[in-house]
């Protein structure tokens, strides 16, 4: 390997900077500390939680007890919320990524009237925060009778202007026009060209958008809060907040231990998804860089 790389264009030697290392270390601590807190405190019972130092373990180790109680509390509604979140992510984020890839490819590789107007609209749409649209969307969905159904979360999640924009700019460079022309000369239809030629070249862009929409949908809080009033359709974010709020009500059981352990369980899949998709993303970016 080292011989091979030495024959390529000379690389810059990485510079070691004490300052950078210190800065990076601080940043790592800063970002990992909340996560560490979460892991440590999900091993405590509620009395231990209130009676021990927050950043270290208490005497007992109750992680598995806590997990068991999270999964069974209120007739196991946590699992229902987890299932809802997965549904919203798979259909919502998956659909959004598919639509963004199709649309981005079309905008990048086809010429048609009104393209500039669409460009302007999409660019403008990326600037509008979803929160601002939540209430108007609610009123519209209420007219359609879709509030309190999974569609109220899935339909708005299907639209990702930023994802579309990302795929578009990515597709412009990632798919050579010559390749598409060659495929057309060989007699392939546009749909076949998209799925057998373009889709593969777009894989890194697809993975990036999937990552972004998955994280956004997984963490979506405000939209479900507005749209849903029935706990059985809540995603994890709104459900956990409901448990958290319960401790401030009369006769309401304080369940901070379950909120904390539930939060830990809620981030495990998203962390896994991130690490998994990141590999594709990086290798894809690298592959693209070598090509030209």
């Amino acid at each position: 390997m080292s011989a091979a790389s030495s024959t390529r264009s000379p690389r810059r030697r990485p510079r070691n900077s004490v300052l950078l290392t210190v800065f990076m270390t601080l940043f790592v601590v800063y970002t990992l500390l909340p996560l560490f807190w979460l892991v440590v405190n999900s091993t405590k019972t509620q009395p231990e939680l209130f009676a021990s130092f927050g950043l270290w373990f208490s005497d007992g180790f109750h992680l598995f007890d806590n997990i068991g109680r999270v999964l069974t509390y209120q007739d196991g509604i946590f699992l229902r919320w987890l299932g809802n979140t997965l549904l919203y992510v798979v259909v919502g984020a998956g659909g959004a990524t598919l639509l963004a890839t199709l649309g981005g490819y079309g905008l990048a590789k086809f010429r048609f009237p009104g393209k500039r107007a669409i460009f302007a609209i999409i660019l403008g749409a990326t600037a509008v925060p979803g929160t601002a649209l939540a209430v108007p969307t609610f009123l519209m969905f209420s007219q359609l009778g879709l509030t309190n159904t999974p569609w109220a979360i899935i339909l708005p999640s299907l639209i990702s202007p930023f994802g579309l924009y990302l795929v578009w700019t990515f597709a412009v460079d990632a798919i050579p026009d010559e390749l598409l022309e060659a495929a057309r000369i060989d007699g392939a239809g546009e749909i076949r060209i998209f799925f057998s030629v373009a889709a593969r070249l777009l894989a890194p862009g697809f993975a990036t958008v999937l990552l972004l929409t998955t994280v956004a949908t997984w963490n979506n809080y405000f939209l479900p809060l507005i749209m849903l009033s029935r706990p059985e359709w809540y995603p994890l974010t709104v459900g956990l907040n409901q448990w958290n709020a319960q401790s401030t009500t009369v006769g309401g059981e304080a369940v901070y231990d379950l909120v904390i352990t539930g939060s830990l369980l809620a981030i495990v899949p998203i962390v896994a998804a991130f690490l998994f998709l990141q590999r594709y993303w990086q290798s894809g970016l690298a592959a693209g860089a070598v090509k030209q």
């Binding site: 009676a51 209420s142 009033s229 709020a245 401790s247 006769g251 309401g252």
Partner: protein, 446 residues
């Protein structure tokens, strides 16, 4: 069930825009005609049966609904937790705006009730003969659910304020139970000087607490008549309160821990915070959340300004019937059972709720109850006395939910900088008044 405001998404709820003025004039047009009736009509409706939806975050309500369904087998009560406090109000406001989606019966805290009354979202309960129930409730809670034009909800629970104090900490540092605010300040100084890690109280700045304290000091900062609103957060009561609180704040005698955080539960459990000024609904939360100091806590009346007993309501909820409800008679039947019928009320008292019904407050069984958590003290005697000492005549704004949401940006800043709370109150008043004007109210500030 009382709740302190959910702190999460306070800003976001405000963002969701509880637009009022638009709905001010135009009352809901979706009501199915004049649904009203007396007790016989309600009884007939209960016999005929049907289904109603109840929005509440109070956990005992499911038990009430179960008992109710057993009594009236043809009725189905769907109890839904649509969110606590602000979360629920945002959803309710949106459902009102959309013209559909609101429940039949809805839990609304007293401070938020004027907003929904004024927008015409609630049914007038006089139509069901509930005006006869006036004497069944404490004066302050009945006052909160009525206007000159009607009765808009039935009180569910109440939260007259008292002082909870940690007897063990008081003994350890030789503190006497303060009966006036001057004594309270002196005790705060003594405790913090003896052990700088300990505080007599925490107050991270909370709109509900501040308004209650102004209430206890005899203030009437808000008054409204239709869409004419007066705000004066520098009245005599407000200034009496800030005179005490500025001393506590500026001399570092207040722990900045926010209420209802895990840190707060910890501090109440290990004696870091030695008193808690809060509503009468707090004992149930002590028992469920603060086991570490079980047996150490006691209850005393709030300290006074001049020796005359005075209290205020803090928190507490009512339940209303929405104009959107398509089965108001059934809803009225459930409401009556939950908040007026001794059976329904008792279920909630047993679950730790502090009632607003005078018959329960005056019953020997209730008054003689000795709480193990509070070292055998007959706490209800103190709590009921507080409910009698609540000063009359308090009003909240018809846009109090919004006003409370901007509290952290105004008075909260005075807390954070340990500055003059009067500056924060003036700023709060100005921003609240500006919002009211935007919403179409005629706002005067003195």
């Amino acid at each position: 069930m009382s709740s302190r405001q959910s702190r999460l998404l306070r800003g976001a709820a405000a963002l969701a825009g509880v637009a009022l003025a638009a709905s001010l004039a135009a009352c809901s047009g979706t009501s199915d005609g004049a649904e009203s009736g007396d007790a016989d009509d309600i009884a007939a409706a209960l016999e005929a049966g049907g289904e109603i939806t109840v929005w509440t975050w109070g956990t005992p309500v499911q038990k009430v609904a179960d008992a109710f369904e057993e009594k009236y087998p043809n009725v189905t009560v769907d109890v839904v937790n649509a969110g606590t406090g602000n979360d629920e109000y945002t959803k309710l406001q949106n459902a009102i705006k959309a013209g559909s989606g609101a429940p039949d019966v809805v839990q609304i805290e007293y401070y938020a009730l004027p907003q929904f009354i004024l927008s015409g979202a609630l049914a007038d309960l006089s139509d069901f003969g509930f005006d006869a129930y006036e004497d069944a409730y404490t004066a302050s809670t009945w006052n909160s659910v009525t206007t000159d034009d009607g009765i808009w909800a039935l009180p569910q629970d109440s939260g007259p304020m008292v002082m909870y104090y940690n007897q063990a900490v008081f003994d350890q540092f030789g503190l006497d139970v303060p009966t006036t605010w001057d004594e309270y300040i002196a005790a705060a100084e003594k405790l913090h000087a003896a052990d700088p890690s300990k505080y007599l109280l925490n107050d991270g700045g909370d709109a509900g607490f501040t308004t209650s304290m102004i209430w206890q000091a005899g203030g009437h900062p808000y008054s409204s008549n239709g869409d004419t609103v007066t705000i004066d957060l520098q009245d005599q009561g407000a200034q009496k309160w800030t005179a005490v609180w500025n001393q506590l704040l500026q001399n570092d005698l207040i722990s900045p821990i926010s209420g209802w955080s895990d840190e707060w539960y910890q501090a109440l459990g290990d004696g870091t915070i030695a008193t808690l000024l809060s509503g009468a609904w707090m004992p149930a939360n002590f028992e469920s959340g603060i086991q570490a100091s079980a047996g150490d806590w006691r209850v005393a009346p709030l300290p006074t300004y001049d020796g005359t007993a005075a209290s205020a309501e803090n928190g507490g909820s009512s339940n209303a019937i929405t104009e959107q409800s398509s089965n108001k008679l059934l809803a009225a039947g459930f409401l009556e059972y939950m908040n007026h019928d001794p059976e329904g009320v008792k279920i909630q008292i047993d679950a730790g709720s502090f009632p607003s019904t005078t018959a329960d407050l005056e019953s020997d069984e209730f008054l003689d109850y000795a709480s193990d958590y509070f070292g055998g003290q007959q706490i209800n005697k103190v709590l009921v006395q507080a409910s009698e000492d609540v000063l009359p005549g308090w009003e909240y704004l018809p846009f109090q939910v919004y006003a409370n949401s901007i509290f952290p940006d105004t008075v909260g800043q005075s807390y954070a900088s340990k500055g003059d709370l009067n500056d924060g109150l003036v700023e709060w008043q100005e921003q609240t008044a500006a919002y009211g004007t935007e919403q179409g109210f005629t706002v005067t500030t003195d």
